[in-house]
């Protein structure tokens, strides 16, 4: 069983929901990448989504765009990100790590080289924002062969036929993008989400994470009430952006702990 499935099973048995923070690797600097990951886990994260910086993050709002630009200024490459995962694994063999990013850095490395390197580093899942199911099969098969889950997005505009297409290729969990727009754009519509989740559940037999527009503990708690996992990205990236270096880990720890406590309360 994959580390991701095991994580969801354990949480379910305990009656808890997964908290999945997203941060861009290499923001604010490469040296902080692994300490940030350990801090997130210590504060209650169950899975880490690690953003691979890209020069043209078309699906991201200004907050994550800026974090990507900062990481690229630091020279953070896909190989560096895989290196962070390798280092993280020396101290944490349990927490799943999902790489999230855009197609081109993977295209440039080549599917086989990437899949091998990801497996070796201890990556558990890969979410390529601009590989919809139609274009993702070649990579998905190579990842599956190495025991790595492919995570896919579903959106409010995904019709039922598309859910079936996702169900065919997805493993680990699916990620419901709860609003029309880019990351960090607006606040989530709880009613819409609670109506959509059962519809997705009836067609996709995987845990469902919900993200985009979750910014505080109360919202996280409400979303956890109707889904299996809560993804928080822009709010954390904002915290990284606004924290002075010496307070960074402490601030992140506080924020994630608050959300965790709200979800568990």
């Amino acid at each position: 069983m994959s580390r991701i499935s095991a994580t969801f099973e354990k949480l379910q048995a305990a009656g808890r929901k997964a908290l999945i923070p997203f941060v861009t690797a290499g923001d604010p600097d490469n040296a902080s990448a692994v300490p940030i990951m350990h801090t997130l886990v210590a504060a209650g994260a169950n899975i880490i989504e690690l953003g691979v910086p890209f020069s043209d993050p078309m699906a991201d709002g200004p907050t994550i765009q800026r974090s990507s630009e900062r990481a690229l200024k630091n020279g953070t490459s896909l190989r560096d990100v895989l290196g962070f995962v390798t280092e993280f694994r020396t101290r944490d063999s349990e927490t799943p790590v999902v790489l999230m990013g855009y197609a081109n850095p993977i295209e440039a490395m080549g599917y086989d080289a990437f899949a091998d390197a990801a497996a070796e580093a201890g990556v558990d899942g890969v979410l390529v924002v601009d590989y919809p199911p139609e274009e993702s099969e070649p990579l998905t098969m190579k990842l599956r062969h190495r025991g790595i889950d492919s995570i896919f997005l579903l959106s409010p505009t995904s019709m039922e036929a598309r859910m079936d297409g996702v169900a065919r290729l997805a493993s680990g969990y699916v990620y419901y993008v709860s609003l029309k727009g880019v990351t960090g754009a607006a606040n989530i519509d709880l009613t819409e989400v609670s109506e959509r989740i059962p519809q997705i559940r009836s067609r996709v037999n995987l845990p469902i994470g919900v993200g985009f527009g979750i910014r505080d503990g109360a919202t996280a708690r409400a979303i956890a009430g109707v889904s299996d996992a809560v993804v928080i990205g822009s709010r954390l990236v904002q915290e990284i952006e606004s924290s002075p270096p010496e307070a960074l880990l402490e601030n992140l720890h506080r924020l994630v702990s608050e959300i965790r406590q709200a979800m568990d309360a």
Partner: protein, 399 residues
């Protein structure tokens, strides 16, 4: 003649093209594809488009034998397809007119567009005004400074111009931002992409609307010359004017198709935008194609004297035509393009766009080694009014 029936139903030209976008945009693209597939085969729609092209754009555009330029080059005859004479001064309006009509049929009241030089922005603002639609144009803040006059033209036409401050603050970032707008306002908004790039169906749709150029040539050349030209040359930024001229000629394998890219300061300097000549395949802006990128797959900044060619990608159909050898791609430097620009002004009384000057420059180069019974047809994609400031600055003047 060999069969050519691309893209396939998923938008692929061999390994290129496709739909590489986030799930949030898939539904809008599906809807657009379905609507466009129906409209492109609807005689009433085709008639409506042709009516607008004739009475509003001013088509057909003439072909013209540039005799003094040919004489100066010494060798083959150079002919020009006069897209510079279209309303708004470039081929861009063929496409914006087509897409605005599609938008109208889909009941969309808000148009968005990206622009680099501002030509596509102006052409989009123009058709939006023509049909009474709201128009928002995304433009990199760098380009806004470089192309102040076109910014003012767009505003006169009633469009709002939104400066884009992300990334390199140029065309590629404007495209990213337009995509972000579209994904947010997807219901009432139609995104008019300005070249044969983006996710399917855009490369096909933009090609179709611009291929009026090649279709006119197919009948014009036999009329004025008694035969088809030996080669067709066109500048390639994203590749829409080139694709428009090339597409109807793909089965005519005795006509060479030559795309001319922006060589900037020279390919060896790395400061250029010659994507097909010097790039490698990858995925950007919704399709797989050749890209200017570093070893880590990050998109790198390009350089060209002409803002309209300053783009790190290229239409996926060009990538396919390159790999199959049906079309050839070459590059011309800033200096060579400028020299051709001045030759056109002095010898032909035509002030060409700097983009188009690249194609002229290569034609002059080629003509020298060919006999005078050979014919090179250059798609003169636009006029140079917009480039006055750039050219003057190069000559040490400020206007």
């Amino acid at each position: 003649m060999q069969m050519y029936d691309l893209p396939d139903s998923k938008g692929h030209f061999g390994p290129y093209g496709g739909v590489f976008v986030a799930e949030t945009l898939i539904h809008a693209l599906d809807e657009l594809r379905t609507q466009y597939e129906a409209l492109r085969n609807d005689p009433a729609f085709v008639a409506e488009f042709e009516h607008e092209l004739k009475h509003y754009v001013g088509r057909p555009s003439p072909v013209y034998h540039a005799k003094r330029l040919s004489q100066k080059a010494g060798g083959a005859q150079i002919w020009l397809k006069r897209e510079d004479l279209n309303h708004t001064g470039a081929h861009k309006i063929n496409n914006t007119m087509g897409q605005a009509l599609v938008a109208r049929h889909m009941g969309k009241k808000r148009i968005i567009a990206e622009t680099g030089a501002g030509q596509h922005g102006v052409a989009s603002a123009t058709v939006a005004a023509r049909f009474g639609m709201e128009c928002v144009v995304y433009m990199g803040s760098e380009d806004i400074h470089r192309q102040a006059q076109n910014v003012y033209r767009m505003k006169l036409l009633g469009a709002s111009v939104v400066p884009v401050e992300s990334g390199s603050r140029t065309l590629k970032d404007a495209l990213n931002e337009a995509m972000r707008d579209w994904v947010t306002n997807v219901e009432g908004t139609f995104y008019i992409i300005g070249t044969v790039a983006g996710p399917h169906p855009y490369p096909m749709m933009v090609r179709d609307f611009n291929s009026v150029v090649g279709r006119e040539l197919l009948t014009q050349m036999p009329d004025v010359l008694g035969r088809q030209p030996d080669a067709i040359l066109a500048c390639v930024g994203g590749g829409s004017n080139a694709m428009g001229a090339f597409y109807p000629y793909i089965p005519h394998t005795d006509v060479r198709l030559i795309g001319v890219e922006a060589g900037g300061l020279g390919l060896a300097t790395g400061k250029h935008a010659a994507t097909l000549c010097a790039g490698t395949p990858g995925v950007l802006h919704g399709n797989r194609t050749y890209l200017m990128q570093d070893a880590n797959g990050q998109i790198i900044e390009t350089h060209s004297i002409s803002a309209g060619l300053d783009y790190p990608g290229v239409g996926p159909e060009h990538a396919w035509l390159k790999d199959t050898g049906r079309a050839e791609y070459v590059s011309v430097t800033d200096d060579e393009a400028l020299e051709a620009f001045h030759m056109m002004c002095r010898l032909e009384g035509i002030i060409p766009a700097l983009e188009s000057s690249h194609a002229v420059a290569h034609a002059v180069k080629m003509a020298r080694d060919m006999s005078s019974d050979k014919v090179l047809l250059v798609n003169l994609s636009g006029r140079g009014d917009k480039d006055m400031a750039t050219v003057a600055e190069r000559s040490g003047l400020t206007l």
